[in-house]
Amino acid sequence: MWGALLRSGVRGTGGLRSMSSGGPPWSQVVSEAEKIVGYPTSFMSLRCLLSDELSNIAMQVRKLVGTKHPLLDTARGFVYDSRNNLQMRGLVILLISKAAGPSTAELSFQHNMVSGIYSSQRSLAEITELIHTAFLVHRGIVNVGELKSCDGPLKDMQFGNKMAVLSGDFLLANACTSLAQLQNTKVVELISSAIGDLVQGIYYENSKSSEENCLTDDIGISRWKEQVFLSHSALLAKSCQAAMELAKHSTEIQDMAFQYGKHMSMSHKLHSDLQPFVKESSSDTMAFSLNSAPAILHQEFLGREAWIKQIREAQGKGNIMDYKQLQEAIKAGKGVTSAIDLCRCHGNRALAALEHFPPSEARDALANIVCAVTRFP
């Protein structure tokens, strides 16, 4: 997901306000941000890979090589492909912690501050990444009852499931332990509720029988936004808020941090959904999800029946989806432009939230992130 941003290779001059004229390239945004927070955050959550339990798992996962269990892809992603593995959530939390500055509450606030960030906030950034990673792993579980013979031996899949459940649980347990060590029950409550949100969001993602029936869900854009909030925004939004709570910032700042996290990640999801539709390349049409924002919006404008008809036409006789045709159909409608508008709208709201923070390098970095996720060729 974040990797797509790198590939889109954006350029331009920066600025808190100007979204359309663009900002620095994504990779530059990231490396500058990392300098601001003090260190590269790429492998934050994977420090616990050094634990006995996970090295045990890693050895066992080797047995999955040659099978089709999704855990293998997830694991591969961690080790080999650091590009696609940017731990953006952690970075955002660190940036917003720094942007909010030191606690204005009691003078006796004695916590450790390094590079303008409290150690508890750093811990929280790591916790967020742990949770995110845990669910990447838990997403990669297969339904044993739905396996076909082409998926390979049953016991390989069962074994993969076992490893996925265990390693996901291990990451979650680590997150819970670290949360407890923060000694702040409000934060525990916030993050735990974020986990609940994430579960519900993933549940909605999974529930789609749309993959089998090749249909868009029968929902409108506002329902879509609710579900995407759960699966893509809640964790970051609530973590940003929790970071503020850790430094005892006011409820107003907490709310603004929440708003930034929420709107920035919504923009990001919309940006990601739009990629197949805004690229110039004509040779290779990317397949896209029928539940991506442009499709949902297109369906809403056109009406469900008309949209289903277009889908069936694109499927043709062989039941193989002609994504190019479908893409053209969507582009011909208002789906793409309204998705872009929606993306920019959320981006604006994220920037508006940032206005409540004092000017700083960290705040600029956060703004640059928004610019990067709202930029279209």
Binding site: N56, K162, L166, A180, Q200, Y203, Y204
Partner: protein, 404 residues
């Protein structure tokens, strides 16, 4: 304690049929010690000392060597005896309803999945212990007869954490039935089952945070970590026989006893400021928890033998070497190879099963469970007398006498 006993038992020589005391220890109190039919089954191997004689010898040995606190056990237990489940009933009346209220899910199917095991049909053994412990500690501290709301929350949270771990365990073990009905993964598939487990855990965390006490959060979060580490311990295995037993006990603590021990500790912290009381509560929970699991492991062999006439041997089939197996292995070293390969070859499960039945593995494990129960009783008797305290003692006896 169990490790010392393990070494003692080894030194006595597993091949000697006389030395290890066989069978169950008669309990204090007016009820006659029943000889569980499963026990008698195994004394059919000839022994110089007959079963009742050994019991007597052991009982006298054990009874005089335990701490002075036990000597007054008989009469107190009789006078204050009440069914533990009656005592705790009021506090637990709406337990499952309250748990369901914590599970705020908008998707109907996910809600159905999360509510699935909170149908009120379970015995609520863990919440019962928690609530009784809460009362016993409250009475000990200031004679208060009420259970605080936060203590009741701990009972709810403990049950939720336990259930969440069961849901994941069923996916890991590919189980298809639990508590007489189909498992979540059997009905809704593994993906959703794992999510349901995650949700229940997150809801438990939210409830935990709402108590507003960071110490309690730390104590109960430890359980979550222990549960996962326990599962990992189960994955691995030890080469060395002696390490195996320690490994088995550690796994038993983490997977079963930690939850009970830490929830007892949590309610004691909420009810009483004295750290000695917290330690008593913790030790009671830990000992009862280990005993509970040991008996569970025994039942995996005995309940089937009695009822169905053929083994289900669920643990063996999962490749797990539990107490009875580890003890049997001392008498039948041929089992070592099977343990190492986790009973994976065809015929392994059946052979191991037979070895266990021929050995006194079941008795040894039961005896060990008794020792843990006695330790639990010794601990809890350090608290001020109360019906709840005695109920907790009675609970340890119930643990031993379970037949399913």
């Amino acid at each position: 304690m169990a490790l010392r006993w393990w070494w003692w038992w080894r030194r006595c020589g597993a091949s000697s049929r006389r030395a290890p005391p066989l069978g169950s220890v008669p309990r204090p109190g007016p009820r006659a010690p029943p000889a569980p039919s499963a026990m008698c089954h195994f004394t059919q191997r000839s022994s110089a000392l007959s079963f009742p004689k050994i019991c007597n010898v052991f009982w006298r040995f054990h009874h005089t060597s335990t701490s002075h606190l036990c000597s007054c056990s008989k009469t107190v237990s009789d006078e204050n005896y009440q069914d533990p489940f009656q005592l705790g009933r009021k506090d637990l009346k709406n337990l499952y309803e309250d748990i369901k209220k914590e599970l705020l899910v908008s998707a109907a199917e996910l809600k159905e999945m999360c509510d699935y095991y909170f149908d009120g049909k379970g015995k609520a053994f863990r919440p019962m212990i928690v609530v009784l412990m809460a009362r016993a500690c409250n009475i000990h501290h200031n004679n208060s007869k009420e259970v605080q709301a936060s203590q009741r929350s701990v009972a709810i949270i403990a049950e939720m954490i336990h259930t969440a771990s069961l849901v994941h365990d069923d996916v890991i073990d590919d189980a298809n039935s639990r508590r007489g009905k189909r498992t979540l993964n059997q009905i809704w598939g593994e993906r959703k089952a794992v999510l349901a487990g995650d949700f229940i855990l997150s809801a438990a965390s939210v409830a935990l945070a709402r108590i507003g006490n960071t110490t309690i959060v730390s104590v109960l979060t430890q359980v979550i970590e222990d549960l996962v580490r326990g599962e990992f311990l189960q994955l691995g295995s030890k080469e060395n026989e002696n390490e195996r037993f320690a490994h088995y006990l550690e796994k038993t603590f983490k997977k079963t006893a930690s939850l009970i021990a830490n929830s007892c500790k949590a309610v004691s912290i909420l009810g009483c400021p004295d750290p000695k009381v917290h330690e008593i509560a913790y030790q009671y929970g830990k000992n009862v928890g280990i005993a509970f699991q040991l008996i569970d492991d025994v039942l995996d062999f005995t309940s089937c033998a009695d009822r169905l006439g053929k083994p289900t041997a669920a643990d063996l089939k999962l490749g797990l070497a539990t107490g009875p197996v580890l003890f049997a292995c001392r008498q039948f070293p041929e089992m070592n190879a099977m343990i190492m390969r986790r009973f994976s070859r065809p015929g392994d499960v059946e052979r191991a099963w037979k070895y266990v039945l021929q050995s006194d593995g079941v008795q040894q494990t039961t005896y060990l469970a008794q020792r843990y129960c006695h330790a639990a009783t010794r601990e809890i008797r350090k608290l001020r007398p109360s019906p709840e305290r005695e109920a907790l003692v009675h609970l340890t006896e119930m643990v031993l006498m379970r037949d399913k």
